[in-house]
């Protein structure tokens, strides 16, 4: 395949996939919402879950974005060092975002900061936002596409704690953010927590945490325990769908961490709304692809 054709082919796939994930939820989120709907006993909360399910059916049938806020488009790229289009990928994803905006259609959500002008294409300075991880040796590329809506972006918070505040301080920070600001972010939420050395490292990890499947567990036993305790604790608070109270508050809590300076505990929280629109796709060196997050997709 010549390079020009490969670029064209990948742009087309990524444009269609980006538009697609705004219309249908990934399988892990779908399954979790079905579980939470079954478990709910509060009549008003039950009726909200019914509206949510009806909305997803209508979005699928009418082929429309299930939520009007199709977000700022973010791509989390795990690229093999030998992936043939490594240098072209940024431009490809920018073009794919603009094309997805036309075919979705997606809402125009890129406003140039300071100029205060909506570009009308969902592209702008450093938007779509790309997060890069390079994997040695490999020649494939795995991309998580995420629609970061305004509502579920607003609760985002980061802070650096002193070691004396400990993991207890981390738990308090997470619970405070969710009970105070989570209500507006369309619960039940997927809560991402980053525990790391400073604000930006914790913030990045908290976002990567919500790219993990809803029911996934950290491989570190203590982090996994903390995920479980926070999930149970937040559910006990009973925020319910849309903050109208109910049996649960969250779809899950995922924690990602790094090593840190002995004098600091960086902590950050990111939230995904119930309509957690993300998709995972693996692109092979020959531009063939496999969609990992959704079943039965025809692009």
């Amino acid at each position: 395949m010549d390079k020009e054709f490969a670029v064209q082919s990948l742009t087309d796939v990524m444009a269609k996939f980006t538009a697609y994930i705004g219309k249908r939820l990934p399988k892990d989120v779908k399954a979790k919402l079905a579980d939470l709907r079954t478990m709910e006993t509060n009549p008003l909360a039950k009726s909200i879950y019914d509206s949510m399910a009806g909305n997803q059916e209508a979005a699928d049938k009418l082929n429309r974005p299930s939520c009007q806020d199709t977000g700022v488009i973010q791509y989390f790229v795990e690229a093999g060092a030998n992936f043939p289009l490594l240098g072209e990928l940024e431009e490809i994803l920018k073009e794919a975002t603009a094309e997805a905006t036309r075919i979705g259609p997606l809402r125009h959500n890129a406003v140039e900061t300071f100029d205060e002008k909506n570009t009308g294409t969902n592209t702008g300075t450093n938007i779509p936002w790309l997060d890069w991880r390079i994997v040695p040796e490999k020649d494939s590329c795995t991309i998580d596409v995420y629609m970061a809506g305004g509502g579920c972006t607003l609760p985002g918070a980061a802070k650096v704690l002193m070691p004396g505040q400990g993991y207890e301080g981390v738990a308090e920070f997470v619970m405070d953010v969710i009970t105070e600001r989570g209500v507006n972010a369309c619960p039940p939420l997927l809560v991402g927590v980053g525990v790391s050395t400073s604000v930006e490292t914790a913030a990045r990890l908290s976002k990567l945490a919500i790219m993990r499947p809803v029911d996934s567990k950290s491989s570190n036993p203590r982090a996994a325990l903390m995920e479980e305790l926070l999930e149970q604790g937040l559910n006990e608070v009973g925020i319910g769908p849309q903050g109208l109270t109910g049996n649960n508050s969250v779809m899950g809590v995922n924690i990602e961490s790094s090593a840190r300076h002995p004098s600091t505990i960086g902590v950050a929280v990111n939230t995904g709304c119930w309509a957690h629109r993300r998709g995972k796709i693996r692109i092979n060196a020959d531009m063939s692809y496999e969609i990992l997050s959704h079943e039965g997709v025809v692009l």
Binding site: Q68, R107, N184, E236, V237
Partner: protein, 202 residues
């Protein structure tokens, strides 16, 4: 039986409503969010739509322009109402709006405005934007299009638009504020319990 409000809404239509009640709207629903509120309240510009007895929707929809030049509502769900808290009390006073639809709660200023000028705030389930779009019969107009797609004032004719859960009524009650108080009360003992298992730094 469905309780349906019809625009223009009169004060007496709202008197018996309490927080937690579910209603539907038939008539005219105008999208109005951040910049439109700023223009009226901070800059003193006149709104291009008369909202006396009307209903606004904190929402920034996806709209498609059809070949015949008319607009089609594709997807329209509520946005975070709290962003408009800073302006809403004065907005209610100046416009005479009766129903404010959005997502999440609003604060004490809006609750005071609703009580003073007889208005209510209601929640449409967030994220249910296609459901909402199918309840829009027609887009009758679009004002301040210079603000771009999300911020334009889209004038919609709606039929039995809902469910709308009353979150602030005319008596000063604020459902989400009450819920948040109860969430914060519940949080403390839960946190104390969790923290006992998190003493990893020894």
């Amino acid at each position: 039986m469905k309780k349906i409000l019809t625009t223009p809404i009169k004060d007496e239509d709202l008197a018996s409503l309490n927080v937690g009640d579910v209603v539907y709207l038939t008539g005219r629903l105008v999208t109005c969010r951040d910049v439109a509120h700023r223009r009226l309240i901070e800059q003193g510009r006149e709104l291009p739509v008369n909202l006396e007895g009307g209903a606004i929707f904190h929402a920034g929809p996806i709209v498609r322009k059809k070949d015949d030049g008319n607009f089609e509502m594709v997807s329209i769900g509520p946005t975070t109402s709290m962003r408009m808290e800073k302006f809403e009390r004065e907005f209610i006073k100046q416009t005479g709006v009766k129903l404010i639809v959005g997502k999440g709660g609003m604060g004490p200023e809006t609750a005071a405005g609703c009580q003073e000028h007889i208005a209510v705030h209601a929640i449409f389930p967030g994220g249910c934007a296609v459901l909402a779009a199918t309840q829009v019969e027609e887009i009758e107009g679009a004002e301040w299009q210079d603000l771009g797609m999300p911020e334009t004032l889209w004038i919609n004719r709606v039929k039995e638009f809902g469910p709308l859960i009353i979150s602030i009524d005319t008596k000063g009650n604020n459902l989400i504020q009450q819920n948040k108080t109860s969430f914060n009360e519940k949080k403390k003992p839960i946190l104390d319990r969790i923290c006992k298992e998190l003493s990893f730094i020894k």
